[in-house]
Amino acid sequence: MLLLEKIKKSYRQPNGELVEILDVPQYEITRGEHVALVGPSGCGKTTLLHVIAGIVRPDSGRVHLDGVEVTRFSESGRDRIRATKLGYIFQTFNLLPAFSALENVMLGMTFASKKRDRQRAQQLLERVGLAHRIHNKPRAMSVGEQQRVAVARALANRPVLLLADEPTANVDLRNQQQIVKLIRDTAQEEGTALLMVTHSVEVSSEFDRVDQLEEINMSAKLAKTQPSVSE
């Protein structure tokens, strides 16, 4: 369902030096599969998610998602694929403060199809346990509640793949498990594959498949074996 082939991505540093951040020969996730991707900070986890989401275009290589080669599309095409086939949960939730929980969920629908399915948005919020708070604005909600809204929003367009970028980084251990369980359960119910980036052992232990980014990303592996100049 998700297939990455020979993905390479480099960034130019302010001093002009080109630093390779991603070198992924091959990486695959099957339909409905839940995967935890772990690795230390700065090893390219977020960049990998951005490449999969089409937010960042790789220097070379191909990304296939649900039978579509994402990398072949222009930016507006990739925007469209992102809106229809992908769900994204951010580390800081990134809810829009001016909108209520319900409106935040429906906003994602707007970009996908112009049709706003209010009933589905309500069902999703009920599913994440926020039936009583659908008209509340984010600032009136707890961190946990905001994360639940973000989960509902990410699943609103029935994506084939849910990308979660360290969704438990800002919550305590007890809430971490609850949130991971919620994300996994709802994704499972929706039949959505899940790729969750985390550096928490507790979180990754919940998953059957845990991938080490250093194993996938040759650049990260190289960085690990060859100490940097500063070290």
């Binding site: 937010i55 507006s76 925007d79 992102r82 809106a83 229809t84 990134n94 829009l96 996908a112």
Partner: protein, 599 residues
């Protein structure tokens, strides 16, 4: 929300300043849009004559004999007025005496005085004939005249308002706005009549401000104060005038005037020129008490309806304070009622006017053919004004100022040396324009400058407000991009939001600006006469001015519709919003989502 408030404050200031600027403009236009192009008055300062007659300000100027007014009248009016003269009636008397004497076949008795009288009457007739006092001709200036209205100043009402004696033509003929041909309109009642069966000659009309501040209504009787209310010699006239009409506000100095019937004005005490000041016709000086001719029956003509100035009926002459005590309201009312029955008009020798407002002919006269008009332009209002300024008006002005008017009068009451210097003519448009250019214009420019500066400062504050708001939303826009929104989508969201902010702030500001106008409107109306309501918009160009010659396809009434300059606020605000929003919108368009999300 703060952005909307800042926007609203900016728009409020702009709307208020534009409207107030419009009021100043309108006040200026109202005061320069005369329905007359020449003012004839006593020789002296041009500005003082203009201030007296246009704005009813400054110290009163000298008066000129009523005879000057007759020079602008048609044959019928002139003949009627001349028949109401002591000279004409003494001439008639002499003829009757002569006929009686001839019939009796005796010499005229009494020798001395009566002999002298008949001699003088003969002189008078000669003088009149020599000077062509023919009743069947029009006044010498009538050819050039469309309308002439006399004004007589000198009295006050309610301490601060001028009382102006004039004829009913002032309301029926004087045009307040030459562009729209708008004349005086009555809030209540009617214009006074020359003679009314109920009130006689003693009717008056109040300007809007006078009525509002004095609280007088139609039916009330007002008593003018003779002379400057601040001076010791001022006293309240015994004669009252019944209010028969109240004018609508005009935005001109006329709002602050009580207009009385000129015939009634002449009949009030101290308004008639004393008989002994009237010079003998053809002689070089006035009648002296020692002159044997002082006994002439000229001043008490036989079989002649001698006018009795009303003030003399009571003989009460007192200071302002005393007058109140000596003549209680009841007495004054009786006087008003009894004097209403007075039908005798003051002979014209005893009449004086302060000024004559003249509207010169505008091309309907047979003396002016189409070719002459074509020389001045192709018609239209502007050309008419030009014509009024440069054509007949100028002719009248030159004739008056060169002394030709005096020499062409039917006969003059004044000594030739004095008569030649008695009157002058001025152009009110020229005088008022120079006044405004020198004094008011800099204030207008200052106000315009302030308006522009307020617009610019408001624009910048709006720009900063929206830009800050947009900058704060950069992360939100990145989130939208991550959720699948395209670059053009976030850009249009940004612009739309900027426009919405501008317009909602604009609407709030518009309401607040007009609300502010309503709050200050009593003050504005008091000082300029221009009323301002909530829906009173700042003026702008008319449709005909916008479309030029293409406006001819519009109905005539529609062509003069003015589009308020406030209408520019809508496209102006949208343009401003786009200008302000475009940079953040482009920033949003170009934003690196990955970077924005990780910040």
């Amino acid at each position: 929300m703060l952005t909307i408030c800042s926007m609203a404050l900016g728009v409020m200031l702009v709307v208020a300043v534009l409207t107030i600027y419009g009021v100043v403009e309108r006040s200026f236009r109202a005061n320069t849009s005369f329905g007359y192009d020449v003012i004839v008055g006593a020789r002296g300062g041009n500005a003082q004559l203009m201030l007296n007659t246009v704005f009813y300000l400054s110290k009163p100027v000298e008066n000129i004999p009523y005879e000057y007014y007759l020079a602008f009248c048609n044959q019928e009016t002139r003949a009627r007025e001349l028949k109401n003269s002591l000279a004409y009636n003494s001439h008639v008397t002499r003829q009757q005496l002569q006929i009686s004497a001839n019939q009796m076949g005796v010499m005229v008795p009494f020798g001395g005085a009566l002999s002298l009288f008949t001699d003088l009457a003969a002189d008078t007739v000669e003088s009149m004939e020599a000077r062509d006092m023919t009743l069947d001709r029009e006044g010498n200036m009538y050819t050039y005249t469309d309308v002439a209205v006399p004004l007589a100043l000198g009295d006050y009402f309610n301490e601060k308002f001028r009382v102006v004696g004039t004829t009913p033509e002032f309301f029926s003929e004087i045009v307040l706005d030459i562009d729209t041909n708008k004349k005086f309109e009555f809030e209540e009642g009617r214009a006074f009549e020359e003679f009314n069966s109920q009130h006689g000659f003693f009717e008056c009309v109040l300007g809007a401000t006078v009525a509002r501040e004095s609280g007088n209504r139609v039916g009330d009787v007002i008593y003018p104060i003779h002379g400057d209310p601040a001076s010791q010699s001022a006293h309240i006239h015994e004669q009252g005038f019944t209010i028969v009409g109240i004018l609508k506000p005009t935005g001109t100095a006329n709002d602050r005037v009580a207009f009385t019937n000129l015939e009634g004005h002449f009949l009030m005490e101290d308004h008639a020129k004393p008989i002994d000041e009237i010079p003998i016709f053809g002689q070089s000086g006035p009648i002296q008490p020692a002159d044997p001719r002082v006994q002439l029956p000229l001043i008490t003509p036989i079989n002649f309806e001698q006018p009795i100035p009303v003030g003399q009926t009571t003989g009460v002459e007192s200071g302002l304070g005393q007058s109140e005590a000596v003549t209680p309201q009841e007495v004054r009312r009786e006087t008003a009622v009894s004097s209403a029955l007075v039908r005798t008009r003051l002979p014209i020798e005893q009449r004086e006017v302060t000024a004559i407002l003249v509207r010169s002919f505008t091309g309907q006269n047979e003396l002016v053919d189409d070719d002459d008009l074509d020389l001045l332009g192709e018609g239209g209002d502007d050309d008419r004004i030009l014509f009024m300024d440069l054509g007949m008006g100028q002719a009248i002005g030159s004739m008056v100022n060169d002394g030709q008017l005096e020499s062409s009068l039917a006969w003059s009451f004044y000594r030739p040396d004095r008569a030649q210097r008695a009157a002058q003519a001025i152009s009110p448009v020229y005088e008022v324009t120079s006044l405004f250019e020198n004094i008011i214009s800099p204030i207008r420019w200052l106000l315009l400058l302030l308006t522009v500066m307020i617009c610019v400062v408001s624009g910048i504050s709006i720009l900063v407000g929206i830009y800050n708001s947009m900058t704060q939303r950069r992360n939100e826009l990145a989130v939208m991009r991550a959720l699948g929104a395209g670059r053009t989508t976030v850009m249009s969201i940004m612009l739309m939001e900027s426009v919405m902010l501008s317009l909602s702030g604009g609407i709030l500001g518009w309401i607040a600006g007009h609300g502010l106008n309503v709050l200050v409107s009593p003050f504005i109306e008091g000082s300029t006469g221009v009323t301002m309501g909530f829906f009173h918009f700042a003026p702008g160009p008319s449709l005909s001015a916008i479309f030029g010659s293409a406006s001819s396809f519009l109905p005539v009434g529609v062509q003069s519709w003015e589009l308020s300059i406030e209408l520019l606020l809508i496209p102006g605000l949208i343009l401003l919003a786009v200008l302000v929003g475009i940079y953040p919108a482009i920033t949003a368009y170009r934003a690196d989502v990955a970077n924005s999300l990780t910040k």
